[in-house]
Symmetry: C2
């Protein structure tokens, strides 16, 4: 007599879509994250502003338009090539506000500290937050500190929440892309994710890969001054360029086609991705933006971007089309095309 197969004992290496508990992928910026928002948060927090899934929410306040955005940072390790969790937390929220076209003005910061964290480390993190805010012209105006027991908390978690004002006449949002528009990337992609990956996994590459963490508010202000035809801005963080463009395609009900040959990727990042079997389109960035601009103004906007050190490698990487709405398609290096779908979970957890 042979043993019957017992399905109850099977395990599945992929996160189950109908999992009754939180899995790492719920924080990865992919489909699982979207599903958590759509099926759990949105039904509870029903209102128009939350339903607009941009990086920042926009509300009216005494006749002005205020953008507000929040992000918690749980990156591991706390210190990585090119930055640390503190400046990342300042840059990330400044960038999320900037992507609505707003000028970021004020930030709050909430620290969750782990018992046993060396004060010297906290001091370095706080100093680099202050320097990042000063350099971006944004003020940290209020804060909070909690302490959790040793073993719970990974040293430091930081929440930053920011507010900014949207100038009159500016209408930028993930639902504003139109067929014919041009997709511009502000520089090389994948640097931040691969920099964190290299230290976390103890990998050594020939050229050190350094995070691109930076505040993009000044670059955005220059772009908005130059053109009134910037339709969408997005910083491709968790889930990378692929997830951001998928979300824009869905929100604007358009198709997007990118040309993989034109997407700027550093040779060291490309090699590391090939070595690890990762796709640079899905790797997180923290100092880059995607702009979707009318064709007529694309050259002008590109020139302004290239004149700023944070946009020197800017390039047109694709186009908005009226076919295949909601879908991102890539022309591959060998002349074919492929659908670039959102990932279910994530390539690399805890990248921001």
């Amino acid at each position: 007599m042979t043993n019957p197969i017992n399905i109850d004992e099977w395990t599945c290496p992929l996160p189950l879509r109908d999992h009754p508990a939180i899995v790492m992928g719920h924080g990865g910026g992919g489909k699982l994250s979207s599903e958590l928002v759509e099926h759990l948060f949105l039904p509870a927090f029903q209102n128009d502003m939350l339903a607009n899934l941009g990086d920042a929410s926009v509300v009216g306040l005494n006749g002005t338009r205020l953008a507000m955005s929040t992000d918690s940072y749980v990156i591991q390790p706390l210190f990585f090539p090119g930055g640390n969790i503190g400046e990342l937390a300042v840059h990330g929220t400044i960038n999320d506000i900037s992507m609505s076209g707003a000028s970021p003005l004020y930030l709050s910061c909430g620290f969750i500290l782990e018992e046993g964290l060396p004060l010297e480390q906290l001091g370095r993190i706080v100093d680099s937050m202050a320097a990042a805010a000063r350099s971006a012209g944004v003020q940290l105006i209020t804060g909070d500190t909690k302490v959790v027991d040793k073993g719970h908390g990974d040293g430091v978690y930081i929440n930053t929440t920011g507010i900014g004002l949207i100038p009159d006449g500016v209408t930028i949002g993930p639902d504003q892309a139109r067929p014919g528009d041009v997709v511009i990337a502000s520089g090389t992609i994948g640097d931040h994710g691969m920099a964190v990956m290299s230290v976390r996994e103890g990998l050594q590459f020939e050229t050190e890969i350094v995070s691109d963490t930076a505040a993009l508010n000044a670059l955005v202000a220059q772009m908005i001054n130059a053109s009134s035809q910037i339709h969408v801005l997005r910083d491709p963080t968790r889930g990378g360029v692929a997830s951001s463009l998928n979300e824009i395609a869905k929100a604007s009900r358009v198709g997007i086609v990118i040309d993989e040959n034109k997407v700027p990727v550093r040779p060291a990042v490309r090699s590391a991705c090939e070595f690890l079997g990762m796709d640079p389109l899905f790797v997180a960035n923290e100092g880059k933006l995607l702009a979707i601009v009318s064709e007529a103004e694309a050259e002008k906007v590109l020139a302004v971007m290239k004149a700023n050190p944070l946009g020197v490698d800017a390039a047109v990487i694709g186009r908005v089309v009226d076919t295949h709405p909601g879908m991102l398609v890539a022309k591959t290096g060998i002349g074919g095309t492929r659908v670039v779908a959102m990932q279910i979970g994530e390539q690399l957890p805890r990248i921001c």
Copy 2:
């Protein structure tokens, strides 16, 4: 030969004031918390708004005064008699904004979820956040979700950050108390802290003690409508009434005298505190406020408070004096007086 005493092996049960690492007391709202803010955060984040140590920061924005406040919630357990971490996170930030005299308008929420958290628990927490916000007339407009590995994070940490507008003519702040003013408590103190304590330590009391978690913005609006002579508002959370009044005495450079016999404390809370050797003056509250009001208007403000269900037990508990500036003194039940100093750490960690 006897062994010599080896001092290196001694351990100290109290947190060391010059500790080179974070200890639980740095999150307790006592002296250690203040020292961390004064010696580490303030020197880095130098600006006038942060230096004003009220619950919310106030900034000018297009001719209006905007209050902004942030808090991370790490309470254990997540569910406690009378509430859960979700509504606590909404009430807490609404209250911090209200204590500046502002009408809270919008909240952000950032979740740090632990891998393995049952979605059913998250759903209950999120539903109660939504209900708390709706009931207070405040909108949750933007959010963020991160996931950390199992074993790091205690289920859920929540950051809420809020903004609100201060009506013209209102000047309320911790530095506005003046000698002769009256100190009013809006109701019984210590309920929240002892409710959490009872479940955490598995204690059973004859009468169940239930958290007082509540949003105080409507009560504050009624008080401000009734009187222009409310000088200070404060919700005595971490560190309790004693820490709040100490901070006000310091910020306003006045003395404060309270009459212990007049401080409302539920009999069950008083018994539990006696049993555990705790002082109700230091126990956290989440739905109570302290108001410091000119003597001339105290009766009027008290009447308005008593007419609101959240202020029905309101009572005058003390007075602002021009002697012993920076110091809180209590008249004890047996007719003596004692100095009530801030605690170094905390009686009960992770209460909010």
